[in-house]
Symmetry: C2
């Protein structure tokens, strides 16, 4: 009765360029009853994120590469269904990093209980109330040193991080906030829902020209999720002393060529700019401050978000690939249905 079948997605081979379904494999794992100290968790939502593409390569980075033939790790939220650890009783909502699986079983210390909020989808812990929101907050504050009145440009602004950045920038006192996105619908959402003052479709034409038109007074802060032509365009219009928080470079994630960088890096010197790459690990100390502010903003109804939800662990790879192609607005998530067999959960 306490045996469970888990479906897990693994990396079968390292993608070259754009990943394809062949780069992944599905494993069926059978869990026996948890050993003392372990819990079994059935996920409610599993996160697919741009940074995961980097971990599929065997290159040095701030996180080690995914191992071939092992389940892809990453953020997920679920509920304890079998417990052999008194600190995490059955029913506890838990965040964890066990990744692309419908059911996981591991030591209780690898799960973190999160408070239950009635009426709030647990999925929000994977984005606006979780790491995604914290990434936006850290990038704007600790990395880019946002000051009241600053003009801010956000590339890839309709993604999970970008939608958070625009709103948080405004709440922290930014002046003009400019965003780019890849479809007319996303561009409309940026100004209608996410607090952007102006937005443009980077597929409509030269990013340099569009940003220059959108930022006649220049920009002070650049929050970059895209890299490439967006970084080049930002360097063109930076005001003196400008600061870039480099969070992602999705434009280059699936290229196999070595793509040359911007032709205007000399502006870093002549305008005394700072470009700073960052990863959240070094800034987790800002989490309490972020949680406190975000809880207030959220309670006041000042935070909007979107989710693009795909059902079923078997569709995780498709969700990931769609996200890489920009099919999502806001956060891309995989939803796991509750177990049909109630016996399995007890």
């Amino acid at each position: 009765m306490s045996t469970a079948l888990s479906t897990q997605i693994q990396l079968a081979q390292r993608p070259v360029g754009w990943p394809t379904p062949d780069d992944f494999q599905t494993a069926e794992v059978v869990y026996e009853a948890p050993a003392t100290g372990e819990v079994r968790v059935r996920n409610e939502f599993v996160s697919v994120d741009p940074y995961m593409r980097g971990r599929m390569n065997d290159v040095r980075s701030y996180v080690p590469p995914f191992a071939l033939g092992e389940t892809i790790t990453g953020g997920a939220i679920g509920r304890v269904v079998v417990s052999a650890a008194p600190e995490l009783p059955v029913g506890t909502l838990v965040l964890h990093q066990h990744g692309w699986a419908d059911v996981v079983q591991a030591d209780a210390s690898t799960f973190r209980a999160v408070p239950e909020v009635p009426g709030l989808s647990s999925s929000l812990r994977l984005h606006i109330l979780g790491m995604t929101g914290l990434t936006a907050y850290v990038g704007l504050t600790a990395i880019a040193g946002l000051k009241p009145g600053d003009t801010v440009f956000v590339s890839g602004a309709a993604g999970a991080v970008g939608t958070a950045v625009g709103q948080i920038a405004k709440l922290l006192g930014a002046g003009r906030v400019i965003g780019s996105a890849g479809t007319p619908e996303k561009v409309a959402l940026l100004t209608e829902k996410y607090g952007y003052d102006v937005a443009f479709n980077y597929k409509d034409g030269d990013v340099r020209a569009q940003l220059a038109a959108a930022a006649p007074e220049g920009i002070d802060v650049f929050f970059d999720n895209v890299g490439g032509d967006h970084l080049e365009a930002a360097l063109d219009v930076f005001n003196d002393g400008g600061r870039a928080a480099l969070c992602g470079a999705i434009a280059g994630y699936n290229t196999t060529d070595r793509t040359p960088g911007p032709d205007n890096l000399a502006n870093i010197i002549t305008r005394a700019l700072t470009l700073k790459g960052f990863t959240l690990a070094a800034y987790l100390g800002l989490a309490p401050e972020f949680q406190e502010k975000m809880a207030t903003w959220f309670a006041e109804g000042r935070i909007a978000y979107d989710e693009t939800i795909v059902d079923g662990i078997e569709n995780t790879v498709d969700a990931f690939l769609d996200m890489m192609r920009g099919a999502n607005t806001g956060k891309m998530l995989v939803r796991i249905a509750p177990a049909e067999d109630a016996a399995e959960t007890a």
Copy 2:
């Protein structure tokens, strides 16, 4: 008797690509007796610096472009020869920014008296004891946050700034210090005279490969005077959390094409790097701290320097062009002989 003839070098037209002598013109200026509050100064040394190339273009930068048909401004040191300002009597040694001239006359407030040190060439105020040394110090400390034990890479290390950077880095506790230069003689000087642990000739082959070989443990700090392939090479070998002080990009100063940047900017994100351009104006507050440390180091005989001296204001353009081509070791200076006609100075 108090009339003086001054030879001054002006910008005649904006250079396209490499400057040529045709881009400059010589003006003969006749100074009448100084008005009240003015002094006349005969220069001893005039500075030619890489950053001046940028000011020859009509583009936005931290300093405005040189005006056509006006004398090229920049650092110089000279001695008051006629004074109508009691605070700067005849004989006072003064630093100023009036630039490429043998004699200048202006309001006393545009000159700064500097202490006379017996046995010390006044030229040192234009480099190791002046802005050049301060640039090295600020770049290493305030910009790159040098920590004891850091591995440091300096591009264009045999120039005026680079020779100062290597020594100051060591004096501030750096571990391995690596430099690049453009001739075998300069490479030898770096390790024999300027405290570099290892140096290579960037004309000998691929900078990426040479730096990787010189920095098997990676680098923590990059002090960049060159840009281009040197920045790309540094990005390849940066350790996590590395910091670049971008001081100059001489590789691109005379190009007319828009040259693409490094192909590995994504390392800024994956290694959490900081790239920071800087100009001295914002950091002049560090001058007293620098002067104090440098005076001690200098008195202890721990500071080496080289000067490449060209005689005669009429050779200033050649000195500038030679410096841009890397003909100098250490600081390139134009020396002005004392006036032959004693009457002119009284």
